[in-house]
Amino acid sequence: MYHTLFDYLTHTEGATYILIGVFLISFIGFWRFLTEREREE
């Protein structure tokens, strides 16, 4: 339980940074998977 906004934000913003980092890297894989056929040509 967070008593201060500061502690709460530290947790949520920290977790969000990690989340978007994972998203960015995954997006590359996602895109390559989606456009696999275009590269086979």
Partner: protein, 390 residues
């Protein structure tokens, strides 16, 4: 590729350029040595009331904005297909890389404990801090810019396999660079959201992040024009594009500059309107604000418009220089002129000459490196062995 010297190599190493830059750099090195051996007080006018001064205001805040040309032009060429600007991509990326390197160097001079620079990532993170976001993005973006300048290096060194590898990364790097730039350009402005009582209301706005981002684009476009202006005569012997093509590129950039500046003007006026600050314009601070807005946003915008319509290169260059100065002025206002505006006069900040000298040294260093690289490597021209990037 042989090195062509301005005076035909008569003086050897002691050319006027080398002498002037050498003195500046030597002075900077001496001042920084004093700074690192005795502390910041000996070489700066920083205080507890004014913890951030010229090194943050120019080296970091203005430096990042002026280095924005890299992401602007690479996005235009590689993501939006404006291939006619291909020839200015490499100079812009090199300017960008050196600009961000200057930011980091300036930061290393300003930080109390610069050897702890990586601490937010390796020791303990403060994710609530906008500065955390800025440092993360700047670190990543500096890496991106570094990789984006390696194709010219690999071509120069004849490393074909490496050159082809980094060539394949162009699109991904450009996209990543645009994402990172949008974020940190905006967040540099957002750093001031936490000081509503210290930054004058005409500059303080909930929209300062957007204002910083758009003005950075204007600064980036203008820096490409300015850099081309300075380089065009110095590197004329390398140029492969015709004068006509060079002029067309400049006019295209002027057109872009006009559009961006009018957008920026609109955003600033909207902020005045939303925060109902019209009456503040009648104060002395308001007059100063109008100097920044009219003299360094509206005026260059008009000059860009006329330059594009009438095809006058000189006007475009003047407009570009004014825009650059205007962005620098804006960053100075936000950092130490309109910041602490209510503090008594005797406690206000003005930079020490040593601070100015160090800043000038860093700029000189960037110019020297730029010149060294552009004289030897395919920046201003395409290497005959390699097809044009993407």
């Amino acid at each position: 590729m042989s090195v062509a010297t301005a005076d035909g190599g008569r003086n050897g190493i002691f050319t006027p350029f080398n002498l002037v830059t050498g003195v500046i750099l030597l002075g900077g090195a001496i001042i920084l040595t004093i700074r690192f051996t005795t502390g910041l007080a000996s070489t700066t006018n920083l205080s507890n009331t004014n913890p951030w001064g010229l090194w943050i205001g120019f080296d970091v805040m203005a430096g990042v904005a002026l280095a924005a040309g890299g992401f602007v032009i690479s996005s235009a060429v590689f993501l939006f297909g404006m291939k006619e600007y291909q020839s200015v991509v490499r100079p812009a990326l090199l300017t960008g890389f050196l600009g961000y390197a200057l930011v980091v160097l300036g930061l290393l001079a300003d930080l109390g404990r610069p050897w702890r620079l990586p601490f937010p990532f390796i020791k303990q993170a403060g994710p609530t801090s906008p500065l955390f976001e800025v440092s993360l993005c700047v670190a990543l973006y500096l890496t991106v810019l570094f990789i984006e300048t390696t194709p010219a290096v690999f071509e120069w060194l004849g490393l074909k396999w490496w050159r082809q590898l980094v060539g394949k990364l162009t699109i991904v790097l450009t996209m990543f660079g645009l994402i990172l730039s949008t974020m940190h350009q905006s967040t540099l402005g957002a750093m001031y959201m936490v000081t509503p009582t210290k930054l004058h209301p005409l500059w303080y706005s909930s929209q300062i992040p957007v204002q910083f981002f758009i003005s950075a684009i204007a600064a980036g476009i203008s820096m490409i024009i300015v850099e081309g202006w300075v380089s065009h005569s110095a590197f004329h012997h390398q140029a492969q594009i015709s004068d006509e093509e060079f002029r067309n590129i400049n006019f295209g950039l002027a057109k872009g500059g006009a559009v961006v500046l009018v957008t920026y003007l609109a955003v600033k006026v909207v902020a005045l309107s939303l925060e109902n600050e019209w009456r503040l314009l009648a104060t002395s601070w308001g007059a100063w604000y109008l100097v920044e807005l009219i003299g360094f946003v509206v005026a260059p915008c008009i000059l860009f418009v006329v330059a594009y319509r009438e095809r006058r290169l000189g006007l475009a260059r003047l407009a570009a220089a004014m825009t650059v100065l205007g962005v620098v002025l804006n960053r100075f206002n936000v950092t130490f002129i309109a910041f602490n505006w209510q503090v008594p006069q005797e406690m206000r900040y003005a930079p020490a000459w040593t601070e100015v000298w160090v800043t000038v040294s860093l700029i000189t260093f960037a110019v020297v490196v730029f010149r060294w690289v552009a004289t030897r490597m395919p920046i201003m021209y395409d290497h005959p062995d390699y097809p044009a990037l993407h």
